[in-house]
Amino acid sequence: MNLSNEMLVAYIDGELDASESTALADALANDPDARARLESLKSGGRPFAEAFDAMLHAAPDDTLQAMFADMVAQTSGGLINGRVSDRPADETVVPFHRPAPAQSQQARSTPLWQMAAAAAVLALVFTGGLISGGIFNEPQRVAEQMPGWREAAARYVALFSKETLEYMPSNVAERRANLAEAESVLGLQLTENRIADPDLDFQGTQLLNFNGKPLVQIAYLHGGQKPVALCIIAAATNEPAPPANETRQGLNIVHWVEGGYGYMVIGDVPEDELNRIAERFRTQFS
């Protein structure tokens, strides 16, 4: 069996057919060097689709549309009258057009991927005083800001699939480094005791950016299928707020404020289950 890097990458990407894939897995069992290369090549994976999708937001769509409308008008010869009026579908809401079915199948067949698939929750940690006292103390500003961060977080989480989370770093050192970075940005301890949950499988941490404020996301899977998120944001007030439920983007949410931070647990998980998870996080962070 050819265990070249090319074949290993094809294996990771689910591009081999079933018999090739089986043969390669068998050959791997007897080849520690190839196994090491496989792990290395896996660690060269990234959430590429998500990253490239960020570029779509930067595309000068108005300019491009105007350019094309002019071009059509100048070249149409009457085939279609005037401008192309259909507004483009918004491409940006589907960032993770990733896996061919074979790919996820493949992914699940290896222990590492299995771990990733086993459970994912997403913890979004928002920092920088976004919740700010305003949200809880000044109803007028609630309208401006609240849809702000919780809605943004909900939209973000709604885009995640189990497959997305498979792209989060799987090695311990890197996970730790990302956590440490998040900790320092947030000014809040994110120890294992705090971020672990018996029903959630930790996937990784991300720093996000909301209205110019850093925002940290820790990802988990619930029940091997459902991404869930815990969002924490540095609040400008120490005024606590008890847990409350809401639904955004079809996802259940529990949110509360405590110790100067706003928290939010979100996911496609039944409300009572999510409440239990939120309660545990509340205890762990208090």
């Binding site: 090319e6 591009e15 590429f48 490239f52 940005v185």
Partner: protein, 177 residues
Amino acid sequence: MAESDISERRKAVEKGLPPILKRLWRYGMVLTGDPDMANELVQATCLRALERCQQFEPGTQLIRWTYTILGSIWKNELRSRSVRQGQGHVDPEFALVTDGISEMNTNILARQVLKEVEQLPEGQREAVFLVYGEGLAYREAAVVLDVPVGTVMSRLAAARSKLAGLKDKGDHLLPAE
């Protein structure tokens, strides 16, 4: 080809292009790392697609057909007059993370990943983009790039090796903002 057929194809292309202009621009960015050059590539691609609309098979994916056109215009026409000669080394001005991306509420991880992709040579960059960014199968990417499937595989393997190395060194961690 009957006049009515050409008319149908022209309509299909005219209606199909506006929703994918942003994606074409993005591919242009992946190749050029320059927003203006990407604009120019999209424009040239649209013009070529309209001119050659009789070659477009309705019902097939317009995006792949136009990706092929865009890539070929870049490699055969525009790249040669660009200062960026595509020698495989990293152009210091090449950037996927533009002001537009920096200003927005963009996922910081996404920016880190784009910074890493910037460091890949052109061939690897576009293979990564088509397969991992656009979700094309190797075979489909090979058709768009007009290269053998084996070339797609070796570019992806090389890209992953390079990124794995970056990861080991921790270069991908940008300072927290």
